[in-house]
């Protein structure tokens, strides 16, 4: 499995390695659906070792983001590697997501925000 999850307090941390594409997307979509069914879900998606992301995978992240915000929660992306960052910038997805440089910064922001939305 090239992705795994863990939890620190109320924050769910999803780490995706290698390619994040149509093959990986359905399982992560299922996981995100479960987590975003909770009230005020706080999700950190670590993309530091993700070297490729396709449109099916972006759709899963967007769907997760929308569901998070519907539930007054937040989904933050961290550590975008250069190839993935380029895709986010080219498609203007970087304007939609909250993107942070490090997990520690994202964890602090999520913990601090609690019920409040993170300013992007």
């Amino acid at each position: 499995m090239n992705w795994h999850v863990k939890q620190i307090d109320n924050i769910h941390i999803l780490t995706i390695n290698g390619r994040f594409d149509a093959h990986t997307a359905p399982a992560i979509k299922t996981w995100l659906r479960q987590v975003t069914a909770q009230t005020r879900p706080q999700i950190l998606v670590h993309l530091g070792s993700t070297h490729f992301i396709d449109s099916a995978a972006l759709a899963v992240l967007i769907s997760g983001l929308k569901r998070c915000r519907e539930q007054d929660g937040e989904l933050v992306l961290t550590n975008l590697a250069q190839p993935v960052r380029i895709i986010f910038e080219l498609t203007r997805m970087d304007q939609i997501f909250t993107i942070m440089a490090s997990d520690s910064a994202a964890l602090a922001a999520l913990a601090h925000s609690g019920s409040k939305a993170i300013s992007r």
Partner: protein, 420 residues
């Protein structure tokens, strides 16, 4: 000597009887195999199995139950009185627990009322027990191992018939699905422009090649006497049938906007499309990138708005190819987004290439991406050629780059070149 001859005669009689019995059994197996040789529904096959088993063993009563996935259970009984469902279901549960035949010469103990002996044999589908043959009360006494062997020879015939029937049903489902996909492919092909538009001042070329029979990419040209010609290129996330359905919806919404708002600018068309489709895209968890360009022939300008689509490459007559900025979020991302647009000069020898990510994300044998830099380099190098040649070179270079790697995504390409 006389006693010896009498014994030999008895043995001979027993051997003859045994041979006749074996011959009857072989005939029964042959008869059943012959019965199953033609096209047969499973109800008839089950009936044939039960009747043959009653004659071949022989037994006073037999029944069979078959429970195939996604099909109504089938049951057949040998006599006029059907065997109670509870007995058949209990027998199936028993044999599924046991995993093989069940021989019960118990003289009535633990057996249905009025029954002395019972033999249960499994009916299998691809190693899974999906039914049971129930044989009750053999004429000549308790069931024996040869009876089990004979019963297994008979049920093996039915197992083959089940396999053949399922294979036939799967082939039928595949054939129907294939016919539907081919129809969808034809519909989608018809939705793409059937010819390239003749626009004074422009040399135009376009292609679209889905990964599967249908895909989520599209391009479109809208020309009318009263409005500046419009080009659109879209890419619904994902691939295959789901993407194709949304592609059709997106193209139609954009066309309607252009038809009913004839003086609209690209940004307004994108905004209308996003507003109309946002909730649908959200419900299905998808999105689409969409580029809309409008050529203004008198001013020799290209006005465009871009909702998340990349790459869009502009190569001015005097200069190198560069990416045009995106400006807007993709369709389906934000509920009410005001779209921005921009204008670029588009005179003779200016080139615009709008591709989908099926080109830039193509992989080679070393799993390296083709990427945007290579595409920019090709456009810069070929910009002096016709639109069709630029398109052909891009296709050829990407194909050569990929080597033995198969196409991995829908690919769509539109090339505009300004002409005098």
């Amino acid at each position: 000597m006389k006693q010896h001859n009498q014994l030999t005669a008895q043995q001979l009689a027993a051997l003859t009887s045994e041979l006749v019995s074996y011959q009857d059994q072989l005939a029964a197996i042959h008869e059943l195999a012959h019965h199953f040789s033609g096209p047969l529904d499973l109800g008839d096959a089950l009936h044939g199995l039960v009747q043959t088993a009653v004659r071949a063993l022989p037994v006073f009563s037999a029944a069979a139950l078959l429970t195939l996935p996604q099909q109504a259970p089938l049951s057949v009984t040998s006599g006029d009185e059907p065997m109670a469902n509870e007995i058949l279901i209990e027998a199936l549960a028993h044999i599924q627990t046991q995993g093989d035949y069940v021989l019960q010469n118990t003289n009535g103990r633990d057996l249905p009322l009025g029954c002395r002996n019972r033999l249960l044999l499994p009916l299998t589908m691809r190693t899974q027990i999906v039914g049971v043959l129930v044989l009750l009360d053999k004429h000549t006494g308790p069931f024996t191992m040869p009876d089990v062997k004979l019963g297994q020879a008979l049920t093996a015939q039915l197992d083959t018939q089940i396999e053949n029937t399922l294979w036939h049903q799967e082939r039928m489902v595949q054939a129907v699905w294939q016919a539907q996909i081919e129809l969808a492919q034809e519909v989608q092909r018809c939705l793409l422009p059937q010819s390239l538009p003749c626009v004074p001042g422009l040399d135009v070329w376009a292609m679209s090649n889905p990964l599967h029979q249908v895909g989520g990419d599209f391009y479109d040209f809208m020309t009318s006497a009263n409005a500046a010609p419009i080009v659109s290129v879209g890419d619904v996330c994902g691939k295959g049938v789901a993407a194709a359905m949304l592609m059709t919806m997106t193209r139609t919404t954009l066309r309607n906007a252009a038809a009913f708002l004839p003086q609209s600018r690209p940004a307004q068309l994108l905004q209308h499309t996003n507003t109309a489709l946002y909730s649908d895209y959200t419900d299905v968890g998808m999105f689409a990138s969409l580029f809309v360009g409008q050529y203004l022939p008198e001013e020799r300008l290209l006005r465009y708005a871009n909702a998340g689509h990349a790459p869009v490459i502009y190569c001015p007559a005097q200069g190198d190819a560069r990416l045009l900025p995106v400006g807007n979020a993709s369709i389906g991302l934000l509920p009410s987004a005001a779209m921005v647009e921009a204008t670029i000069p588009f005179g003779p020898d200016d080139v615009l290439v709008v591709a989908t990510d099926g080109f830039t994300e193509a992989l080679n044998d070393q799993q390296a991406l083709f990427g945007i830099e290579r595409l920019l380099e090709i456009v810069s190098r070929c910009a002096c050629q016709s639109a069709a040649n630029i398109g052909a070179v891009i296709q050829a270079v990407v194909t050569a780059f990929c080597g033995n790697q198969p196409q991995a995504d829908d690919q769509t390409l539109v090339v505009f070149k300004g002409v005098a």
